[in-house]
């Protein structure tokens, strides 16, 4: 069966933390999407990645996840270049969750098979992760018939079932109601408390305040601030961050 297709070997147990980006630049059509970005992710805390639309947040995650090759600069996973064998150590929850055309349970099992778990442990882990995300009673539902919030929860559960060291989430609660958002925040906290480093892109500043231990603020492809959440929200150092937090149009003439 196709479920048995193994995508990668997991005998390489080398970690991918610290995850380091050094001097990363990405240019597209003459624009600097990322401009000399350097940062390090380590430890199990929750990091919020903030910045206005087009600041380069999603591109940064994709470069760090080895999905996009930077024009200059390097990414290092645990001191070495990224490789496919260690790719499952990094979980990625995309803005629009990719639901396989299968049942909820089959979605879980597929990912577990992909990272090399045998049949018996797949079933066990799949159910555990579904219960964790309160999706167990939907196990036999086709994944694409789930609501937006349920799909995001499945995407998170699917990632967490593989026990990654670090999880990227790209606006996981955009367009969701308050209850669904609360559930997703609960899962993110749960992931962090299980020892997974969580990096979340969000436009919801209240959410970032609730969740984040530290904050990275991107502006026009550059990291302007990187520090503890409290000091960022209480006393942002850059004018751009103050504008962003206040919802002001940057550099606009005073009306």
């Amino acid at each position: 069966m196709l479920d048995r297709v193994r995508m990668s070997e997991t005998e390489d147990h080398d970690g991918i933390l610290p995850l380091v980006g050094a001097g990363i630049s990405v240019r597209r059509n003459g624009r600097n999407l990322l401009d000399n970005v350097s940062l390090t992710f380590d430890g199990p805390a929750i990091t919020a990645l903030l910045g206005s639309n087009g600041a380069g947040k999603t591109m940064l995650l994709r470069v760090l996840a080895n999905l996009v090759e930077p024009d200059t600069g390097t990414v290092q996973w645990g001191g070495r270049s990224p490789d496919a064998a260690r790719a499952p150590r990094l979980g990625f929850v995309f803005q629009k969750p990719v639901m396989l055309r299968r049942s909820v349970l089959a979605n879980m099992k597929y990912v577990l098979a992909a990272v090399g778990h045998d049949r018996a442990s797949r079933t066990d882990r799949a159910w555990k992760a579904l219960r964790w995300a309160s999706l167990d009673r939907l196990a036999s539902t086709p994944a694409r018939l789930l609501s937006g919030g349920e799909q995001q929860r499945l995407a998170i559960a699917r990632v967490m079932a593989t026990e990654p060291e670090i999880m990227f989430l790209d606006e996981p609660s955009s367009g969701l109601d308050l209850a669904s958002t609360a559930l997703i925040e609960m899962l993110m906290r749960g992931a962090a408390s299980r020892g997974t480093k969580v990096v979340v892109v969000t436009h919801d500043i209240a959410q970032a305040r609730r969740l984040a231990d530290d904050v990275i603020f991107l502006h026009q492809g550059q990291v302007l601030e990187h520090g503890p959440a409290d000091s960022f929200f209480d006393a942002p150092k850059s004018k751009q961050a103050r504008d962003y937090l206040a919802g002001r149009i940057p550099d606009s003439p005073t009306l």
């Binding site: 196709l2 297709v5 193994r6 260690r86 990625f92 990719v98 396989l100 055309r101 992909a114 086709p142």
Partner: protein, 235 residues
């Protein structure tokens, strides 16, 4: 008009009477075309999916090549297979000319590019949605091909169906390599061609009606399956 009336009468009489000759012809038609489509799908599905996923020099040329082969005239396929299997041909020693096997091979050759080209298009359309998700799982090209084939399974039914339609309806290839031998290699299309040339329009039309009915039933079944799959979010 008289011919049509007679033809319908004849068709129903033959079917109702379980005319053994008629059913022999229908059974052989189905056997040849289904087997040919099975072989063509076994080759064309992975081939098309690989063409959609892989990036290699000359890929554009390969895509154009298979798209062009979709319009391959059956008589040309028949001719090539004939030359291969004729006594003086490179595979002449196998003695396959004027056998059912040769007919299956000819139809498989005809249908494989159709299934491959349609599969390539379907998988290529689906790939952007899946690509990054599969890559963060560390998926290699093989896993990507298998996953996309499985998740496109209901859409791919249409590609296979197009191949079956082509196979069951073609006459040029099977008549050249099969020879339309009564009780041996006679299928519906070759029988229609023969009866028409003999002037037995009623039998020819009767076979034609049955051929169209088979096509309708098969299409209806596949469409029903796809609708169900769509409702479940699987297509």
């Amino acid at each position: 008009m008289q011919d049509f009336g007679a033809a319908f009468g004849e068709a129903f009489r033959l079917v109702a009477a379980f005319d053994p000759d008629l059913f022999e012809i229908i059974a052989l038609s189905l056997r040849v075309s289904l087997l040919a489509v099975f072989i063509a799908a076994a080759v064309g599905l992975p081939l098309g999916a690989t063409l959609a996923v892989a990036r290699f020099p000359g890929r554009g040329g390969a895509v154009v090549f298979f798209n062009a082969l979709m319009g391959l005239p059956p008589v040309v396929v028949g001719l090539v297979v004939y030359l291969l299997f004729s006594r003086a041909g490179p595979l002449g020693a196998l003695g396959l000319l004027y056998t059912v096997t040769a007919m299956i091979i000819a139809q498989a050759v005809l249908v494989t590019p159709i299934i491959a080209a349609l599969t390539r298009q379907l998988i290529e359309d689906m790939k952007p949605e899946y690509e990054e998700q599969l890559r963060v799982l560390g998926a290699g090209p093989f896993a990507m091909v298998m996953t996309l084939l499985w998740d496109a399974r209901y859409s791919l039914l249409t590609a296979v169906l197009a191949g079956f339609g082509r196979a069951i309806a073609e006459v040029g290839a099977v008549i050249i390599v099969g020879g339309n031998i009564n009780h041996v290699t006679r299928v519906m299309t070759t029988a229609i061609a023969l009866e028409t040339s003999k002037g037995d329009l009623a039998l020819a039309l009767a076979l034609g009606i049955i051929l169209v009915a088979i096509a309708l039933v098969v299409n209806g079944l596949v469409m029903g399956l796809r609708d169900t799959a769509k409702r479940m979010g699987y297509a």
